[in-house]
Symmetry: C2
Subunit: 156 residues, 2 copies
């Protein structure tokens, strides 16, 4: 069970975009340089975030990305599921129906499948409690100031 | 993010083994036939469960598997982690240290990494609350009776 590297990249990346001053669109190149990440892989994940309604994109030479809504209204779960999808990591194949004498379809959901689903919902619930604003505010002050200065320079 | 199919197989499989009468060792072949699963793949997962101390194995023609301790003392998490390992699906690469001007090592854990860890612990906690005995008892009565008859026949 593994999450894509893009989850870490984009949780940080969306946090960076959240800190951009009004009117500043953060380009893919700026993001890639900031975290020293491969631009081509970033492109794929940025597209997923636009598709999921977390980011909006503007094309052109001064183009880039900004948040689609305020940072306090985007949860970590929104970012994670934009990259990974929302399916449970447990794909139930209903092997209980293969047991000799078992019904072809049970009336009740399988206890194992329900348990795995509860675990997945507990995981999602933790990620829903943290917003992009929280992530930004949890970074150390000096780091935030340096990032702000860097993003302000882009506005010029 | 995907769990191995072996997780479903072995949650059911350990439940079946838990229902065997005293002195009956459930063979890999019986397990494979019961759920119509490929024996070769089962072998790998059964080995992992023995290694993790969930099952004990006995070799030979009447050999097979039984629980290493009472079903009420084996959690679903024990079974899942025997198959999948206990590592978090989020592998933090500390990309925050790559940011220009960032320290090579931070004093505090990354907020993103801590959040992903809390989510993983919430997932584990759900699976720790369900025992193999619970799984057995949640199966419908008629199915349990048929399984018991089948396992009793093995003892003869």
């Amino acid at each position: 069970m593994k999450l894509s590297q893009g989850v870490e990249w984009m949780l940080h990346g969306v946090g960076l975009i959240a800190q951009a001053p009004d009117g500043v669109w953060v380009s893919r190149r700026v993001l890639a340089e900031h975290y020293r990440l491969p631009e081509a892989y970033l492109a794929k994940h940025l597209k997923s975030l636009v598709r999921a309604g977390v980011l909006v994109a503007t094309p052109g030479p001064s183009g880039g990305f900004r948040l689609a809504r305020p940072a306090a209204e985007i949860t970590a779960l929104d970012v994670v599921e934009a990259i990974e999808g929302s399916a449970s990591p447990f794909a139930c194949q209903e092997i209980r129906t293969r047991v000799p004498g078992a019904p072809a379809a049970y009336r009740r959901p399988c206890a194992i499948s329900s348990m795995m689903d509860r675990a997945h919902q507990a995981w999602r619930s933790e990620l829903r409690q943290v917003t992009v604003l929280d992530i930004v505010q949890m970074a150390p002050g000096p780091i935030r100031e340096r990032t702000a200065a860097r993003l302000a320079a882009l506005a010029k």
